[in-house]
Symmetry: C2
Subunit: 253 residues, 2 copies
């Protein structure tokens, strides 16, 4: 099959940084999997992308992939695990900018200030691909598909960042969070109705800009109303339609 072929050439283990030899899965979860498959790619271009990427990890929960203030040099594609990007403001409040699942690209918000504007922290066992940004940009001038994919991802991140904005109620925020996570898991082949939250309540709270206690209370209320079932960090979605109705003001726009 053509895709396997590409994957094998692309990720032939000349850089044996990681010990998992599953190239197929590697490429599958790669941020550029889509564009690699879609675009008409010649061998030399693939080779270049290959040379560009550095596999890094695993990171343990709590370890940082990059830190606020570090000079910008590369973007990272999450390959396995979950990453949170966060920053701590001057008087100690934490703001979580996002949770990033395999296939997502982090560090794009660092291009402009030319320094990472946040920390990227592993929430569980995380592996990433590192793309030197100057090299990636150069490659993008020769491969329109890569450029287009970068534009799309940057643009999407603008939209995602704006999701948080808006003065929505705690219920709306929680519902939108659960629905969004469910959809993203589903896109990656995990069941959409049984979520395992890899982040603490406090992280969710700092992401949604509510108090941690509020997260607890809202989840409890959702459960009491039969919308979800909560067991620690395992949440199953029982009535997704109703959850969606609550989240609609945020999601549907």
């Amino acid at each position: 099959m053509a895709y396997d072929d590409i994957a094998r050439k692309h990720f032939a283990p000349s850089h044996p940084i990681s010990d998992d030899g599953d190239e197929h899965h590697f490429c599958n979860s790669c941020a550029f999997g889509a564009v690699c498959i879609a675009g008409g790619i010649d061998k030399s271009a693939l080779n270049e992308l290959h040379c560009l990427v550095e596999h890094s990890g695993p990171y343990q929960a709590g370890e940082k992939i990059f830190r606020n203030g570090e000079r910008f040099g590369a973007v990272f594609a999450v390959r396995a695990g979950t990453v949170k990007t966060q920053l701590v403001d001057i008087d100690g409040r934490e703001l979580v900018l996002g949770f990033h699942l395999p296939g997502e690209l982090i560090g794009l918000n660092a291009i402009h200030p030319d320094a990472y504007p946040c920390d990227a922290v592993a929430l569980d066992a995380v592996e990433v691909c590192r793309f030197s940004f100057p090299a990636l940009a150069t490659l993008a001038t020769r491969m329109p598909g890569i450029q287009q994919e970068l534009f799309r991802r940057l643009s999407r991140d603008i939209g995602n960042a704006a999701l948080l904005a808006g003065d929505y109620s705690a219920d709306e925020r929680l519902a939108a969070f659960l629905i969004g996570l469910s959809q993203r898991y589903a896109e990656r082949g995990f069941p959409a109705d049984t979520l395992h939250l890899t982040m603490a309540r406090g992280d969710i709270a700092n992401y949604l800009c509510v108090a941690a206690e509020t997260v607890s209370r809202v989840l409890r209320r959702f459960q009491d109303h039969g919308l979800i079932h909560v067991d620690g960090r395992n949440v199953s979605i029982v009535k997704s339609a109703e959850l969606f109705t609550i989240a609609r003001p945020i999601l549907q726009r």
Copy 2:
């Protein structure tokens, strides 16, 4: 002078869409002014960028440059006036995504969904430059400076969108809003201490996610404390250092 030279070549009035013949000012306020001056540009590339741009306007206050849901085709550089980007959610709440001054690029958040995710509304007499995005992207593959500038602007917009997030107090939000606006005006050669707000209180409120009444009250309180002086839509900043102190949790991170 070299810059004048470039400006004249670049914007020679072969496309007399607008009746103001001030090419120098045209280029000055153009989104790509910086990159045009910076990059080593050959005539043919300049010509191509020239062919690409379409001058459009003036729009009267309230007129829309693009509408939520329209198919994405172009980004727009604000040339004169102020534009707000906003969207109205399912139950009528308005959310203002941003206010855009001359030199800023709007529509970048439309690349990914391939449709404008918001309305762009003129707040006063507005003129814009339209850049067909497919053409711009193609040009960017040949002109790394243009590509880089697009990456930077996209990346900056991610950061700006995240500014709104965070659970900040109304005081912090207002202070940050005033400081930010003041800085952006200053960058454009306007006085930093006397602002004319082109947007209604309600717009500010919907941008900062507070009630319009709260905007009134906080401005009043800032004035009572001697930080600013308010006269309708004219605001003068009296103690910028103290304003900055209030805004610090938002601005300094």
